[in-house]
Amino acid sequence: MRPEYWLYLSAVLFAIGATTVLVRRNAIIVFMGIELMLNAANLSLVTFSRIHGDIDGQVIALFVMLVAAAEVVVGLAIIVSIFRTRRSASVDDANLLKY
């Protein structure tokens, strides 16, 4: 077996994450889809880091995690405050900005 298999796994996970964003309406689950995409990217980074024998991939994956953590904190706060005012966590309900 070659390490590329992990890359295939990463690709599939990324696609699932992207599809989640398109399909689900619950803002929290949409957000999880985004997290899944980030994680899939991390898997690629770590795999490549191993293939090339260069630890930079792991470092960048670490940064991705940190930024994702920051993003989650703010994102969830936004979801909570939207929920407070609109009593809904559906991304389709926030559709006033349109034609």
Partner: protein
């Protein structure tokens, strides 16, 4: 040969990957993919979050195989422990029982999503299969000396120190932002515990715990009022739901059979029961 390699040995990270890793892959990959599909199909947000946590743990194990023990532990610690837990909290905060309807409301969105998702898979896998990768080098030597964590630390605090500081600033800003976003200005003064206690006393209602029901455990005793020292039944001892439903047994009902028991004793137990009964 120290334990870092021993760990790798147990998880079989040899370069190129050996059979143990192949086996692990074929366990991990289906589990993570199926769990990830939970995001697409779970009706309850909690289930989605759970399957997501499973994916995170799976990826954490995968990192261990990829000579990244530190990242693996951090993945589980940060993502599973903090991020997904935060998700769970928010899910529970804004509607625990809300199960999503899975009916699509935007016309064609589901078809588009499926096509795009499959297209993405095809594109990415096609690209990977066409790529020529170098021989796998692996990080075993680096993890042995100076060590995985040390090496990452070298990189972070040397080459990437600027990025690291920026990330720190970002995190602090995010924490502040979250606080600001979820903060509510208090418009009325906070009621102190002292004030609450004073209010309670001022109301003049019963302060001690209410009397317990069911002096005589003959029936479903919670529906039988307790008797006060003077023998009167205390309605307050029965759950108000039962009271509302009109399911309170009168003390007389219970008193009648007890009269038989009492008569078996030489001395009557007390006047109270009879008084209560006669009321």
């Amino acid at each position: 040969m120290t334990s870092a390699m021993q760990l790798s040995g147990m998880l079989a990270a040899t370069d190129p990957p050996g059979t143990a890793e192949t086996a692990l892959f074929w366990v991990l990959a289906p589990v993570t993919v199926v769990a990830a599909c939970g995001l697409l199909f779970a009706r309850k947000a909690v289930h989605a979050a759970l399957s997501m946590a499973l994916v995170m743990i799976g990826l954490g194990v995968a990192y261990l195989v990829h000579d990244a023990p530190f990242l693996g532990a951090v993945q589980v610690f940060v993502y599973t422990g903090a991020v997904m837990m935060l998700f769970l909290f928010v899910v529970m905060l804004i509607g625990v029982s809300a199960a999503d309807s899975l009916v699509e409301t935007i016309k064609g969105q589901r078809l588009v999503a499926v096509v795009l998702g499959l297209g993405l898979v095809l594109l990415l896998t096609g690209a990977i299969s066409q790529a020529t990768l170098d021989e796998t080098v692996g990080l075993v030597a680096v993890n042995e000396d100076p060590g995985n964590v040390t090496m990452i630390a070298f990189r972070i605090f040397d080459d990437y120190v600027w990025a690291f500081e920026l990330t720190g600033a970002l995190l602090i800003t995010a924490a502040l932002g979250a606080m600001v976003l979820t903060h509510r200005e208090r418009l009325t003064p906070r009621t102190t515990q002292r004030q609450l206690a004073a209010d309670r006393i001022a109301e003049g209602a019963v302060k001690a715990p209410l009397p317990a029901p069911g002096v005589f455990a003959r029936h479903n005793a919670v529906d039988t009022p307790a008797l006060l020292p003077d023998g009167t039944p205390s309605e307050a001892s029965v759950n108000r739901v039962l009271r509302a439903r009109g399911q309170v047994r009168s003390a007389e009902e219970t008193a009648a059979p007890t009269a038989v028991i009492q008569s078996e004793f030489a001395e009557p137990l007390g006047d109270g029961t009879e008084e209560g009964g006669s009321r």
